[in-house]
Every structure is written in structure tokens, then in C-alpha cells.
Symmetry: C2
Subunit: 215 residues, 2 copies
């Protein structure tokens, strides 16, 4: 079988999630960088892979998967260990709710295409940064309350799950914009436990960024 190809942008949260999941599952892959700053996701060559024109997409075993949460769920269903989403319906609903609290309620409001659109509407950089922090603060407050009762070292118990896979990239974004985080002790604890793992560390944007972006 040919090596899976991840259509990847180093700073995309959704790509970062999939990189973590691939690493946790021990799936070797080749990264195909798609530079969102240059609108490469809208190019015909990429739209053949993903007609939505969004990253990530994962080409694996002859199929192309899209949407980060669907990709992680597929990896979890097809690669046994470690389990990233619990099988028990109640536990699964709890982990999914935490993941979706980030993937639906925070991240879509702050991604690059939305920030570009706000700029076109005349919203200046300072107000865009406030917008960014506002949705993180609102979302993290709810997530902290949702997570705290059943968290262990990680957001759900003592092993990383899809919830942590969503949390870590969102925390990276929060810190980039200097969002205050003291009010979220459960999230900070899980983030620290997760980022200490090789699978998370190797997926960090700084570890996968092209040399040009680092310069």
C-alpha cells in the first residue's frame, strides 16, 4: 500500500488534530503542504482531492477523507489502539460534546478564511484579535465546566482522547493571541499532559512548519 498523504497546512488547527491522531495511531504519512496564505486550497489540483477546498484531507488506501473529526473517527474505527473515542455511548457522547465544543463553537469563528473576511469588512487587526480571544474565552469557559467533573490527567480520564486532540491546537491558538487562560485549570492540566507526549509534540506547528514560514 502506498503511504497515506495528508494535505496539510502547518498552522491549521484542523490539520494539527489529524497529525496528532496519525501519530497516536502510529500511522506513517507523507505531508503534502497546502499553503492557505497563498490560497493553494482553492487551486484545481487540490480541489480534485477535496472539492470543499479546505484542509485537511487524508488520502489513504485509495480513498480521500475530509473533515478532521470524521478523519479521526475513521482512524479510530480502523486502527485498534490506542482508542481515541470511547465505545460506551454515554462516554462517547461526553467526549464528542467536548470535541464539538471546540470544533463547532470556537475554531470555525477564528479560522483564517473568517479573519480574512472580517478584514474585508473593515474590521481592523486589533478588533480581529479581540474577536479571536472573545470566542476562545466564551468557548473555554463552557468547556471547562463541561470537562471538570469527569477529567483526570486528560479531558476524559487518564488517557488522551479526541477531546484532547481538539484541545491542544486550540490552546496553541489561544497562546498565540495571548488569551488569558488561568480560569481553565482543567484545560491547562490536560494540555500539559498531552503536549508532554511524543505524538502531540511531533505534530506541533513549529515541528512541521516549512523553513520559509519559520524564517
Amino acid at each position: 500500500m502506498t503511504q497515506p498523504i495528508l494535505y496539510d497546512y502547518w498552522r491549521s488547527s484542523a490539520c494539527y488534530r489529524v497529525r496528532i491522531a496519525l501519530n497516536l495511531k502510529g500511522v506513517a504519512y507523507e505531508a503534502a503542504p497546502v499553503n492557505l496564505l497563498a490560497d493553494e486550497q482553492m487551486a484545481d489540483a487540490y480541489k480534485d482531492a477535496n472539492p470543499q477546498g479546505l484542509v485537511p484531507a487524508l488520502a489513504i488506501g485509495g480513498r480521500v477523507l475530509t473533515q478532521s473529526l470524521a478523519i479521526v473517527e475513521w482512524l479510530d474505527a480502523t486502527h485498534a489502539e490506542p482508542k481515541l473515542i470511547p465505545a460506551d455511548p454515554d462516554d462517547r457522547a461526553h467526549v464528542m460534546a467536548m470535541a464539538l465544543a471546540i470544533a463547532c463553537d470556537i475554531h470555525p469563528l477564528n479560522n483564517l478564511r473568517v479573519l480574512k473576511h472580517l478584514a474585508r469588512l473593515g474590521i481592523d487587526q486589533g478588533a480581529r484579535d479581540d474577536w479571536y480571544r472573545h470566542w476562545i474565552a466564551e468557548g473555554f469557559a463552557g468547556l471547562e465546566a463541561l470537562a471538570a467533573p469527569r477529567a483526570g490527567r486528560f479531558l476524559f480520564g487518564d488517557a488522551p482522547s479526541l477531546a484532547d486532540i481538539c484541545l491542544v491546537p486550540q490552546m496553541y491558538n489561544a497562546r498565540r493571541l495571548e488569551t488569558p487562560l488561568d480560569a481553565y485549570p482543567t484545560l491547562l492540566r490536560a494540555d500539559a499532559a498531552a503536549t508532554a507526549l511524543d505524538a502531540f509534540a511531533a505534530a506541533h506547528p513549529d515541528r512541521v512548519a516549512p523553513a520559509a514560514a519559520k524564517g
Copy 2:
């Protein structure tokens, strides 16, 4: 067992999804209206049920479930027929990707709290309506391309799935804002097939709106 309680706002897309799923599964429930226009979702009484302060939440069998997609997935795992999400991992990933293309890439950008926030930033009603249609058009174009190859009468084959459950409320929103829809024949076909079913029709906002909202 006491009747399940759905914390519901008649015009919320996320609530509409859950109403459809409950109807498809034949689960009788009591609706507890939460008026988003009056910010009732932020009241302490509601936050005891859902600390995120978002609708919907479903109280069922002693647990409170949040996040519409997590709720539908839970209902599907715990109530046998009709299946709303395929069991096969490839099919499941396809249906989930379509659902997430709406739930992550369109709906979060257009919900009430975001429109209110844009108004606070000085974006006027006309520009807010353009914003709304922009994200629907962008999202539906991608979804049409994603759905077309494997659609039947519905977005995936000939039975309603989680993808249609997400599509129908988004189509309702699109029409409210008079978004042009001719470019999405697959979506229009699935929407027509779905809304012809009692389970979808009975969940329509006009069927569940409080009398005051209709007046």
C-alpha cells in the same frame, strides 16, 4: 422513566436537528423552550443543565447530553432503527464529513450570538445578511461536490442520515435569507425528499414556535 426533556429554541438549527432525530427514532419528548432572544440560555437555571449556555441539551434517563451531533450520535447508538449514521467506517466517514461541513463550516458562522456580535462591531443589517449568505454559498458549493457522487434520494443513498438532519435546517436558514440555491441540485433533491417525511415536517420551526413568535 420520565419523559426526555429537550431544551429547545424553535429557530435554532442545532435544536431543529435534534428534534428531527428524536422524531425519526420515535422518541417522545417534552420541549422546554429556552428563548435565545431573551438570553435565557445564560440564566443560572439553564446553566445548571448545560454549563456551556448553548442549546440544545437533552435530559434523558438521568443524563444531560449536549452538542447536537453528539446527541444524534448517542440516539443512534442507543435506539436501533432507523440507522442515522452508517456502521461501515468509510460510509460513516462520508456521512460525518457532510454533517460536519454544515455543523462546523457553515452554521457556527451564522448563529444568533455571532450575528449579535457582528452588530456590536458596527456591521449593519445588510452586511450581516451578506455575511450569512456568503458562508452558506461557500459551504453549500463544497457540500454539493462532496455529496453528489454518492447521493440517492437523500445525501447518502435512499434513506435519511445525519447529513440530511443537518442539511434541512441549513436549507431553512438559507431560504429565510433568500440565498440562491439553484447551483445545488443534490442538496435541493435531498431537502425535498427529507421535508416530505413526517419526522422532518413535525420538527419544522413553524410547527414548534411559541404563539408569541408566530404573532
